[in-house]
Amino acid sequence: MMSRRLAIVCAVLLALAIALAGCGKSAEKSASAPKGKRTIVFVFKLVGIPYSNACERGAQQAAKDLGVNVEFTGPAKGGDVAGQIRIIENQISRGVDAIVISPNDPNSVKPVIEKAMKRGIKVFTWDSDAPDTKRIFYVAAADDVGIGTDIVDKLAKDCGGKGKIGVMSGGQGALNLNLHVDGVMKGLKKYPGMSLAKPIIYNNDQPQQAQSGVAGLLQANPDLVGIACVNSPGPPGAARALVAAGKSGKVKIWGLSMPSENKQYLKDGTVNGLILWDPAKLTWVTAKLVNDYLDGKQPVDGMDVKDVGKLKVGKNGVVIMPGVVITKDNVDQFNF
């Protein structure tokens, strides 16, 4: 009676599927037609990774602080351009008040953004922009070039404005990282006593390559005084290489990274400091700006937002949130 047994298994699976769908609904708290209360929906590149979870926390906090519905969604897998478009189209069908997008592909969201705007839904971007569209404004985590110059300024201060520094990036193709490196080069020009140790190290976002790259750089440049790291595996990888070479504290490290990965190195002085942004705060401030916009208030250059700092409003509707500087003195305040 194989077939009967299989039929029973099928029935059980179907029942399970229906039951789970039921759970899904209650767990996610069914988002019914947004009537009455204002609804702002954030559509990220994908959900479920630590970065997007942090953004989601910011959205939830904003819902509490602003007293409006703030939802957070996105495709379940990375690089899902079509999935993200479908999700945005669903929000148009629901008739929400505002959609805030961090696009997987800046070009592909153009038609759907136009469609939403035509239907009276206000569209914004945050985290990543779609500059060639009708989006109202873009809230950026940081000024891509500015991060690079900030890192050099910090290094120059710690090195007394002279000596040879190395630069470490991630992938050679990543646009934002290349802009950070451009910023480092731009920053270096301000300090005539400082020079660049060649070549630029690319760690391909691999902690191991970050460490071995710096080890090689140290051997080739015994007179190195500092390392500027523009992606997150950089500072801890460089720190491991310095510890192994016995140069901890002698060569200064500043870079873009997560506090949790660098806590011990910040405390023992191997890493001098980090510059970064808090994705939760970025999402929170975006929700606030969007909510203000729906109330008829535009973001203004230099406006001071509590717990965030002064916002810069540049051309093409780009709003830049100030970065956070993390050193051994304040690293314990950050939980990511």
Partner: protein, 328 residues
């Protein structure tokens, strides 16, 4: 006792019945439960978004019916999309020539898959796994270092208009599905495909050029992936290196939910189209109810395994009635 069993067997014997029930059930459920589900423009937009999946599913129905599998369809789609963008943005070529070359490239990948499976006797899953990686890699290479999205120039305006503002992708998908259904049910090629899927050795002994038929089904699927790639470029307004990423899962799932047997020999294009529609309805319904994509993936997986089990039940039932109820 005997009569009741034959009634069940008759119902179970209708290949498309489960998927039609699934589609109708989901549609009615979401129409009642999901806010704004029946909004016409939204339904049309979702249908448009799923047209490339349907086109891939038609090709995969032929391949799976013949006892093979192709997991490279998403990557081949992606390569065609990027090739179209590269040609349009970096050469003087017009839209028609670029589209033709993109579809030609898809066909070439498909023909390679078919050649390796039919003539080199390699495992379909291994061959198409290789193509899956190679086509995606090549897409990145031709796009150029650091470029993940190429905006389509103005000369592709017609394509963008047709794919974003009209139901042309849906109509094209329907036309391809009708053609696929006719091939499977009316043509000699369709009969040969199913014969190979059913019993390859016997089919070879009966004088069918099995290798040529296999080459043909993979090449056709490659061409369809190319067509889907051109549509995707228009719909995305750009050639992105991530185009088609993961589409193989949804397309293969649609084919298997639709009633085509994973072991080959039995296939239904109509069922595959209903499979795609069921996936589309699920996506829209869950999206409108605010249920996360993770739940949708899990739900699709459950439906998939249930469908494969149902296929098994159907086979046992058929075998039992064929041998007079001796069965297992």
């Amino acid at each position: 006792m005997k009569r009741r069993r034959s009634l069940i067997e008759k119902l179970v014997g209708v290949r498309e019945l489960p998927v039609i029930v699934l589609f109708a059930g989901l549609f009615i459920y979401f129409a009642l439960k999901a806010p704004n589900f029946m909004e016409l423009q939204g339904l049309l937009d979702d249908a448009r978004q799923y047209a490339p999946y349907a086109i891939l599913a038609v090709g995969l129905t032929l391949i799976i019916g013949s006892g093979g599998i192709d997991i490279s369809v998403g990557s081949v789609l992606g390569f065609s999309t990027v090739l179209l963008g590269v040609i349009l943005s970096r050469t003087g070529s017009g839209l028609a020539l670029a589209a033709l070359l993109a579809i030609g490239a898809g066909t070439a990948f498909g023909a390679f898959n078919g050649y390796a499976v039919a003539y080199l006797k390699l495992q379909p899953v291994v061959v198409t796994l290789s193509t899956m990686a190679a086509a995606r890699g090549l897409a990145y290479v031709i796009a150029g270092t650091g470029i993940s999205s190429i905006a389509l120039p103005d000369k592709a305006g017609w394509l963008q208009e047709a794919t974003n503002s009209t139901s042309a992708p849906v109509l094209l998908a329907i036309a391809i599905a009708v053609a696929g259904a006719l091939v499977m049910s009316q043509s000699a090629l369709g009969r040969k495909i199913l014969a190979i899927g059913g019993n390859e050795a016997a089919t070879r002994f009966s004088g069918v050029d099995v290798q040529r038929v296999k080459l043909a089904v993979y090449a056709i699927t490659g061409a369809l992936s190319g067509i889907a790639g051109v549509i995707t470029a228009g719909m995305f307004n750009s050639a992105t290196t991530d185009a088609g990423l993961g589409y193989e899962f949804e397309a293969i799932t649609a084919v298997l939910i639709g009633g085509t047997s994973i072991t080959g020999g039995e296939a239904t294009v109509v069922g595959s189209v209903f499979g795609v529609m069921a996936a589309a309805v699920l996506s829209r319904g869950f999206g409108l109810m605010g249920i996360s994509e993770h739940w949708r993936m899990m739900f699709l997986g459950l439906i998939l395994i249930t469908s494969v089990l149902l296929d098994r039940v159907r086979k046992y039932a058929a075998r039992r009635s064929a041998v007079g109820g001796a069965g297992l």
